[in-house]
Symmetry: C2
Subunit: 137 residues, 2 copies
């Protein structure tokens, strides 16, 4: 876990990590949310909607923003204030996502940073874009 | 699970549900994300930062948007396109959140709805506000 202070963080600073979405993650997300929607839980239904397999919950993909901020950038001193997420392409179980954040703004008066985030799958397709407003406490 | 079609959904339509954040949910979220940040995992550290207990992951609170869209409004036909989240107050383990979504816009050309979402804790405090853009497929 990184422990960057606000002062140590530079404009344009980048951090990234990769994660493979597993069936266990899907089960854990179902346990947390109770979201029984068949697009995420029923392969046949997902196929009937034009997908090759069950679609990963968008907010499960989004939960990787927690890791990006809380472990990587800024790491320990992170307190997420706002998140804006756009889902560009579906994610499927087994996909490996690379999550990258870049420091786009720094607001000294509030020790606040804005991260621009992109998530790509193993084919390089952008599956998710996000912006996060994070206090560095 | 509701199964509203786009045509059946009305402007101003509301759906809500309540959920209590448990320690098991925190563990499951840690399993999914690997976010070991001490604010969410170390009671003493959270207290040193001025909290009464460990702070619930913001994106765990945010994951309840998956349930709101995928189970309640619109339910089965939900496909989340965009999410905007603002965390107004900290959530603690044991808090009971009431998640309410209201249909604020309908876009016939795209079968798209905009939900305005508020989450309140057991004291009536607004802990999170969100806007979701959802395709009704």
């Amino acid at each position: 876990m990184n422990e960057y202070t606000y002062e140590e963080i530079e404009m344009g600073q980048k951090e990234s990590f990769s994660v493979t979405v597993t069936d266990e993650m899907m089960k854990s997300f179902l346990d947390i949310t109770g979201d029984i929607n068949p697009l995420h839980n029923d392969r046949e239904y997902a196929i009937s909607k034009g997908h090759p397999d069950r679609v990963v919950y968008g907010m499960l993909t989004g939960s990787m923003l927690s890791t990006l901020a809380g472990v990587y950038l800024p790491g320990k001193r992170s307190l997420i204030q706002e998140v804006k997420l756009k889902f560009a392409k579906p994610v499927y179980v087994g996909d490996t996502l690379t999550v990258e954040g870049v420091v786009e703004e720094k607001h000294d008066a509030y020790s606040l940073i804005i991260l621009k985030v992109t998530m790509r799958n193993q084919n390089g397709d952008k599956v998710c874009r996000a912006r996060m407003q994070i206090s560095v406490i």
